[in-house]
Each structure stands twice: as C-alpha cells, then as structure tokens.
C-alpha cells in the first residue's frame, strides 16, 4: 500500500512539474481558473435567488458544489488519464506499463493529472462548504458525506475507465470521456428532477445517482451511514468488473509492431 502511495505521489509530482514546464500555459490556466471560479459563484448566487425545483438555495448549493467537484475531477484526473491510456494503445507503449511489477490498472488510472480542472475543484469545494455551513451540517454528516463523495468519484472514474476499455477495440476514447463527463454533469440536480426514463438511466445505467446524489443526501443527513457501505460495495464490484474487462481487453491487444 505504501508503495502505491509513493507511486501516486511521484506521479502527481511529475504532473505538477509538467504544468509549470510551460510557464505561459501555467499562468493562462491559473487565470482561467480564477475567472471561471468567479463566474460559477455569480451563477450559483443567481440560482439561489431564483430557486431550483423544490430545493432551497442552500441545498441547491450542495448539489451544485458536489457536481462541480465531480466535473473538476473529470477534467483534472479522469480525462487526462483516459486520453493517456488511449495514446498508449495507439502508440504501442502500453507494454511499458504492462512490464512494471505493479497493478497496471492502478498505474494507468494514476499516471497523470491536469491543471485545467482545478477551477471546478476549488469552486466545487467552496460551494459545497458554503452550502453545508449555511445548512448547519454537523461534523459527522460532513465526514460521512465527504467519504461518500470520495467513493462516488472513484465509482465514476471506474465507470469511465470501464467504458474506456473499448479503446482496445476503438479509437474514440476522447468522445467517450466527454459523453461520460456530460452525463455526470446531470448530477447537479437530484435525479428525481428528471423524466422517469432519464431517471432510470441515471440510476441503473450510468451511476450518477450513486456517485453524486447519494453522497449529497448523506451530507444533508437524508440517508443512514449504511448507504456508505452500499457505495463501497458498488465501488468494489465495479473495480472487479474493470479488472475483468482489462484482462479481456489484453487478450485482444497485440500492440503496434516495431
């Protein structure tokens, strides 16, 4: 476990080094982050004033905060790693990952990160924090909700990675990432806000409810702690499915010839 944490830390260290390698890019990303953050805060304040569905503005803030965090996670972690995975498949450099004495799925999922999603991560955390503060959430609820949201992010990533395994047979991982990120964007509203068919899709096909709505409900104290266990089991199940899918994909992987 310590070994994997060390790899994670070193990979993050390299990602940060990559951001700062091109200084103009770094400052542009930083500026964009600040401007977008300001935009989101203005938008959410307007949303709170108008009211969303039957939610009071503070609860809406929590939903939107969690969804914004998820969006940031997709842009800064999920997207770059899935694109890197797809590039490795195309260029035939997946071999270097497969030859390492570590779990290749872990290595592929934690290879890199991007600065560009930081906007959403910051803004999401602030919105969530403000919402919870205004609602007077207790430390227990915040802790359980944060744990559930972390598990939800892992669940969403595993779902996206499972879909990206079609990269063994297709080259359109880019489109897939955008599609999945868009679907998880729907989680900024409770799934009950959607038509029954869409609601079923976001609950049983794409795990938007499990990954986003359930953690928010835990933040808001609307669910018992047992829901976290359920979420953990869902993560475990999807992890096993990803490993199975990866093993299956490898059987078809012949790599690019030299």
């Amino acid at each position: 476990m310590r070994g994997y944490l060390r790899i994670l830390f070193r990979s993050l260290e390299a990602a940060v080094a990559s951001w700062t390698e091109y200084r103009l890019d770094f400052f542009a990303a930083l500026l964009t982050t600040l401007v977008e953050s300001a935009g989101r805060v203005v938008a959410i304040l307007s949303l709170a004033r108008v009211g969303v569905l039957d939610l009071d503005p503070d609860r809406a803030l929590v939903y939107v905060g969690a969804a914004t965090l998820m969006s940031g996670f997709f842009v800064s972690v999920v997207g770059p790693n899935l694109v890197a995975f797809s590039r490795r498949l195309l260029e035939g450099t997946l071999e270097y990952v497969l030859l390492r004495p570590r779990d290749p799925v872990f290595l592929l999922m934690t290879e890199t990160a991007s600065l560009w999603g930081m906007t959403d991560l910051w803004a999401g955390a602030i919105l969530l924090g403000v919402g919870l503060f205004r609602l007077g959430a207790g430390p227990g609820e915040v802790l359980v909700g944060a744990l559930a949201l972390g598990l939800g992010m892992v669940l969403a990533y595993l779902f996206a990675f499972l879909l990206a395994l079609v990269g063994f047979f297709s080259v359109y991982v880019h489109n897939l990432v955008n599609l999945v990120a868009g679907l998880f964007g729907a989680g900024q509203y409770p799934v009950r806000a959607y038509a029954p068919l869409v609601r079923a899709l976001l609950t049983f096909v794409v795990p938007v409810y499990l990954a986003l709505n359930l953690p928010v409900e835990l933040f808001l104290g609307a669910r018992g702690v047992g829901a976290v266990l359920g979420l953990f089991l869902a993560v475990l199940g999807l992890w096993l499915l990803v490993r199975l899918g990866f093993a299956l994909g490898l059987r078809f992987y012949t790599s690019a010839s030299s």
Binding site: I7, P101, S255
Partner: protein, 326 residues
Amino acid sequence: MDYAIVAENLSKTFWVAEKEPGFLGTLRHLVRRRYRRIEAVRGVSFAIRPGEIVGFLGPNGAGKTTTLKMLTGLLYPTAGRAEVLGYRPQERRPAFLKRITLVMGNKAQLLWDLPVLDSLRIQAAVYEIPEAECRRRVGRLAEMLGLEGVLRQPVRKLSLGQRMKAELLAALLHLPRVLFLDEPTLGLDVNAQAAVRDFVRAYARGEGATVLLTSHYMADVEALAERVIVIHKGRLFYDGRLGQLVERVAPHKELVLELSRPVEPGLLAGLGEVKEQKGLQVRFLVPRERLVEAVGQALALLPVRDLAVTEPPLEEVFRRVFSEEG
C-alpha cells in the same frame, strides 16, 4: 544446465482483418469483415545461458518482436512453452517483471516534457528502489552512458542519441538480469550506436546479465554477440556462432580492386560477379574456393593499383539468403 531463457516450439498466430481498397471495399469491410490467419512465429526453439549476449536476427516481419513479446509475457503463446529465469512469462509475476526489461528503440517511456530525473523518480517508486540506492545507481549508470550533464534537462531537449541512452538508463535502473533489446540503436548516428553498444556490453559483463538483442545494424550484432539466432517467416533459420553463419550462408568473399586505368568489361566478368563499379574501383563477389585463382588472374591481367579481400557485409549476406528463400 540451467538456462536464463528457454523457448520450446513457441508459436503465435494472429487473425488480421483484410480490406479491399475503395468505397465498395470499405462497405464490405464494415458489414462483413474478412480475416486472414497469420502465423507470426512457428515452432521456434532455443535456449540461452545466463550471461550470454545473443543476436536475434531476421528480416522485417520475421517474427522477432512477436517472439520477444512472448518471452516478456506481453503476448500469450498460441502453442509451445516459454521460460525466463524459471518463470512462465505470461503469468507476469512481479518477481519476474522485476528481473527483466524490454527496450524498444522506436518507443519511448520517458516523460517528454520533464527532465530525465523526474521519470527516474517514478521508476524508482515503481521498482521500490530506496532513495539513496537510486541516487547511487543513477550516478553509476549515467557515468557509464556519459549522461551526467543532461539528466536535469527536459527529454525533448536531448539529442536522439542522448534520449536513447536515457531510455536505457530508465529501463535498467532496477538492474534487471535479462535484457530484451528491440532495435536499441534505431536511427542513431555511428557514434551514438557505438556508445550504446559499449554500454550494453559493460552492463552485461558487470551484472552478469543475459541479453537478447534484435537489430537491423549488423555492426551491433558483430560487436556484441558471438551467437546469433536467425528467424525467417516465423521459423528458426539458424542458431549458432556468427562466424559459422557467415561461412554457411556466404560462400563468397569480397574482392575490391583499384585499377590504374579503365579496362574492357569482358576482362572483369571473368574474375567473379561484379557487384559495383565506381570509376576505377570494382567490387567483386568471388566464391571462396576460387579466391586465390581470381587474385592471381587479376594481378596478371589487370592494371591493379590496390587490392583488398574482405567478408561481404552481413546485411548483404542476409539480403541474398532471404531473397533466395523467397
């Protein structure tokens, strides 16, 4: 005798989709795909002792890389058995992966935008090399490769030769016992090729490592390997000493004459097969048993200013052999 690498009747078959050109071909390809069975490797057997450096040769598409990938566990053999350091490669056990490396001359693993040291730090974490030990190894390998001054520069700023050396450094940081080198000098200039060769030789000697090397540059093979394994169309063609291979597949010597003035073409044809004529310099291929006679004839009949007898380049030998084989 324990062997470091064993291949026993190793075979690999692929199914490759084929498509006719044009719009109709594309439509057919979309609706009903046609596959062709390709036997990339067919019953190849060999065994390599610990510490041996073996050249693995063959024309493009002969099955070299496929064999290497089976030996490293990247591909599952369709039939036969592979064993490396007592492990079955396709099981890809961590203990096995920690003791081998694969270097592909045309594929990079270093982080493009970052200094080499950043990639090495990740490698060290992956292979659980302690910090101090990592510094010691990097220092020693970088000195052997002449890379001391460039490890803090972004990889994209390095020359091709420096990049390849840095790739080698990253691939050998965990001090593997078996090296699979697939075209490690591809695209390098003569000096860089020589430096890579010297390093591989020194590393293998120092660590007692076993090396299986594929290369299109015969100079690599001549400099590093006493033994060569040649495969052609997926089958084992030759396994033995390099010198014996040359004698077996090249029954000719090369005779180079420098003439003092032009002569009738008919006079040249009698000496052997004229391979090349550049001004007053003529290159012949002469059967080994006729060499003495041909030299005598040349000196007697032609205005010879200088004369040299050499082995034909290995590239040419293989080109002749494989084109005769079809």
